[in-house]
């Protein structure tokens, strides 16, 4: 029966080609526009590390004096001070944890063979690689001893390795970052993330850094932050040591808490830490407050999905509704004009359900066709986005979910549009039409 309905649907399509093509186009354009904005939204909002996003947490401490505000909904600063980060990193809590910030260097080999180039670098503890699941091609993280002694070691990306060592195993070789020679401890594979969720401060969709060095080098090398540095208090900061001792907020911190109990305990630890600090004269406020958000919550808190994009998704869905209303009207026209024919079929013994089913199959065919063409239109739209805005080049693509979503939404839309006309036509009373023929 199903094949027969498809055949009937195809005949019907051919009988009124103009109106049928119009309907398919309406669905296609609706799906095309909706999928374009939805794909970008989907890529932006997507969980970047689904199996672990509920374990990785970013603590926040409210270091601000009472009465001071921050531009977050709960007045907690996004970043942390150097003293707090040091204390949290050194605390005897049995969890993977790492401070983190972005800096940068001129990379060269101290020889005229390689022209110096600039790379940004991430300054972290060795747990970082385990926590964020970076894959090593050669070597591995620096050792605990190297981390403690602030040894000049570096982990480079395969891209830098390609540039400096033609992709050979470079573990143990020396490279220059500014004026210091660093030993290569490992080479990581291409880190394929499109949301830089571990540091959302300066463009959530920028590429990850290509160099990684131990956090213990911060004080030794007086590493400047290539990110946000927010002071909130009047402090004279003339030297780097002043900055390290100050209340300036410029560092991120991540901790891996595998279970709800661990999270609970870590929260208690943070509270105890703040009380201890308060006793030492910091955290000058009535209510001590902290935040402990996991990756998904952190992305939401940092408003990773841009405003413009939310507006666009909303508008495109409204647009889809207009398309559905349109198709509804056209289907009504098409089906009702066919009422005499349906009358004959009903008289010959087709049940209401069969007539209804037949029309729904026909509508679904239109929807599916529209959905497929819609994918093409969405690809065109995404290409337009990529060429207009290079920053979105990794985001303006469709993944498998979106490829499946397009025909699903199209089918759903056409189904909604077809429901009423199909119901109307299946209620046709055979008698009237038999009489007039």
């Amino acid at each position: 029966m199903f094949a027969h309905y498809i055949d009937l649907g195809w005949r019907s399509f051919k009988r009124t080609p103009l109106i049928s093509i119009l309907m398919v186009l309406a669905i296609a354009v609706g799906i095309g526009i909706t999928m374009t904005s939805l794909s970008v939204y989907h890529m932006m909002a997507m969980d970047p590390i689904p199996h672990k996003s509920d374990k990785l947490h970013h603590p926040q401490l409210n270091t601000l004096d009472d009465g001071r505000n921050w531009n977050t909904p709960d007045d907690l600063p996004y970043q942390l001070t150097y003293q707090d980060v040091q204390n949290l990193a050194n605390a005897p809590v049995p969890a993977l944890k790492t401070p983190s910030f972005r800096t940068g260097f001129s990379v060269h080999m101290n020889s005229p063979d390689v022209k110096p180039f600039v790379e940004s670098a991430r300054v972290v503890n060795r747990d970082f690689f385990d926590m964020f699941e970076l894959q090593f091609i050669y070597g591995g993280p620096w050792s605990q001893t190297e981390q403690r002694d602030a040894s000049p070691v570096v982990i480079i990306s395969s891209e830098v390795n390609e540039r400096l060592f033609a992709g050979q195993n470079s573990v143990g070789k020396q490279i220059y970052l500014d004026d210091t020679s660093y030993r290569v401890s490992g080479v990581i594979a291409n880190w394929d993330i499109h949301t830089k969720y571990y540091d959302l401060n300066n463009g959530a969709f920028n590429d990850p850094e290509n160099l990684f060095i131990p956090f213990s080098l911060t004080a030794v090398k007086e590493l400047a932050s290539w990110g946000n540095n927010n002071g909130w208090k009047r402090e004279n900061i003339d030297t780097f040591q002043d900055k390290l001792n100050s209340e300036e907020l410029w560092l991120q911190f991540w901790v891996q808490l595998n279970t709800a109990e661990e999270k609970q305990e870590y929260g208690e630890f943070l509270m105890a830490y703040m009380q201890d600090q308060k006793a030492k004269g910091r955290f000058n406020r009535e209510n001590l407050e902290f935040g402990l958000r996991n990756v998904v919550e952190w992305m939401e808190y940092n408003e990773v999905v841009s405003e413009d994009n939310r507006v666009l998704v909303g508008i495109s869905f409204m647009f889809l509704i207009v398309c559905v209303a349109n198709i509804l009207g056209l289907l009504l026209a098409k089906f009702l004009r066919r009422a005499p024919e349906v009358g004959v079929r009903r008289a010959l013994g087709a049940s209401k359900r069969q007539v209804f089913y037949q029309h729904i199959v026909e509508v679904s065919m239109l929807g599916l066709l529209g959905g497929l063409i819609g994918i093409g239109i969405a690809q065109l739209g995404l290409w337009g986005i990529r060429t207009t805005y290079g920053y979105y080049s990794d985001l303006a693509t469709m993944d498998i979910t979106m490829y499946l979503a397009a025909p699903t939404i199209a089918l759903l839309a056409s189904f909604i549009a077809g429901l009423y006309p199909a119901w109307l036509v299946c209620r046709t009373t055979p008698a009237i039409y038999l009489k007039s023929q």
Partner: protein, 403 residues
């Protein structure tokens, strides 16, 4: 005269078609008026005067890794060398590049702390006496920095005590009196005396909610390992000069890397890319939406007419003129359309308030709703005329033939 009552009764008998039309018109009005307002808001921003001759300026960044030279001396030498290149008007080192999206801002106070006082947020540019000519901003009051105003320092103790401010900042800080010669305060109690006022000079983030017109120039140089340089050239020579910039700078000293050599109009374009994208997408949506609605109305009218062939024939046979038939459809459409526009305008205003509440979009101007409603009305009427004319041509004999 318009037979409104019978037409309305007829409409009530085929509700679905009318409701669909009404819905489409309502959504179209709501979306198009809001989208066109957002587009207008974006266009207005994109055309805003920045104060900089963007086609004459370019910027680049120097990362010095060599430790064997004193940076402030090196940059003095570099600037002098750049100014000697034919076609270059002037060059200056600065802490932030205008219109680039990255820079620094601070709150400046009317009175020294700890006194209670109003404060005004402004972006600041650290640069020497060459900044005015390099930036190409217009001095409208007071004077430029003198070489002795400029401090080469990184400590607060030696910080400068004069500043050139933008007109907008001067008016925000001193709303009721002339600002020239007055002091305002930074770092709590360090005074800055206003010695010059410039016309428009936008901050590095022209799209920000912090007023981008509020900017100040402070005569301080603190060259770092990561240093921006701005160069102003004759417009026609810029491309050629930019091409040789890396070699020229590395020839002067090679323990450094030159990056981000970029024309200022390109810098602005990159900064605006997301706005342009949003605008393009909205324009596409409006165009497609309007044409889909027009087609839908066309189709529905067509359907209505084909359903009523006999009725039209009968009316014609009973003496109705062609113009009566056309008028019938126009009036019918106008009634549905007005209903849709009514609902659409209300939802447009509601949508506008919602958008304003959630997003940083200014309040929807009601004239946009009115103009959109008029345009949608005209469009639907046009979409009806053709099918209505065809309907009028239905011969009365059809009515008698098939009953």
């Amino acid at each position: 005269m318009f037979e409104i009552k019978p037409i309305f009764n007829a409409l009530c008998r085929s509700k679905v078609g009318a409701i669909l039309l009404l819905l489409q018109i309502a959504i179209t009005t709501a979306v198009v008026s809001n989208a066109s307002f957002i587009i207008y808001d974006h266009v207005q921003y994109l055309n805003k005067e920045t104060g900089f001759p963007q086609d004459e300026l370019f910027r680049f960044t120097v990362l010095t890794f060599g430790k064997d030279r004193e940076l402030s001396q090196q940059f003095e030498l570099d600037e002098a060398m750049l100014r000697n290149i034919p076609g270059v008007i002037n060059a200056v080192t600065t802490n932030a590049v205008p219109l680039s999206g990255s820079g620094s801002s601070s709150s400046f106070r009317l009175k020294p702390s700890p006194e209670e006082s109003e404060s005004v947020n402004a972006a600041y540019y650290f640069a020497d006496e060459h900044a005015l000519e390099t930036f190409g901003v217009k001095l409208i009051e007071g004077r430029n920095f003198l070489p002795e105003d400029v401090r080469i320092t990184n400590t607060i103790e030696n910080a400068p005590n004069v500043a050139i401010v933008s007109k907008a900042f001067a008016e925000a800080m001193f709303p009721d009196e002339p600002a020239l010669g007055k002091n305002f305060y930074y770092f709590g109690d360090k005074p800055l005396k206003i010695i010059g006022i410039v016309d428009t000079m936008l901050s590095p983030w022209p799209r920000s909610s912090r007023p981008p017109e509020n900017t100040i120039l402070v005569p301080m140089i603190n060259p770092g390992m990561y240093q921006h340089i701005m160069v102003r050239t004759q417009a026609g020579e810029r491309a050629a000069i930019m091409r040789q910039m890396e070699d020229v700078m590395l020839d002067a000293y090679n323990k450094r890397v030159i990056i981000n050599i970029e024309a200022l109009d390109q810098v602005k374009q990159d900064y605006d890319a997301s706005d342009v994208l949003m605008m393009r997408m909205l324009i596409v949506i409006i165009l497609v939406l309007v044409s889909v609605t027009a087609l839908g109305i066309f189709g529905l009218t067509q359907f209505n007419i084909s359903k009523r062939t006999k009725q039209i024939g009968t009316r014609r046979a009973l003496g109705a003129r062609k113009s009566d038939i056309i008028r019938y459809f126009l009036v019918e459409n106008a009634m549905v359309c007005l209903g849709g526009l009514f609902i659409g305008s209300i939802s447009a205003v509601l949508l506008g308030t919602q958008l304003m509440q959630w997003y940083s979009i200014p309040a929807l101007d009601n004239s946009y709703v009115a103009v959109t409603a008029l345009a949608v009305f005209a469009m639907t009427m046009l979409a009806v005329v053709v099918p209505a004319k065809r309907a009028a041509n239905i011969s009365p004999s059809i009515a008698t033939r098939t009953v």
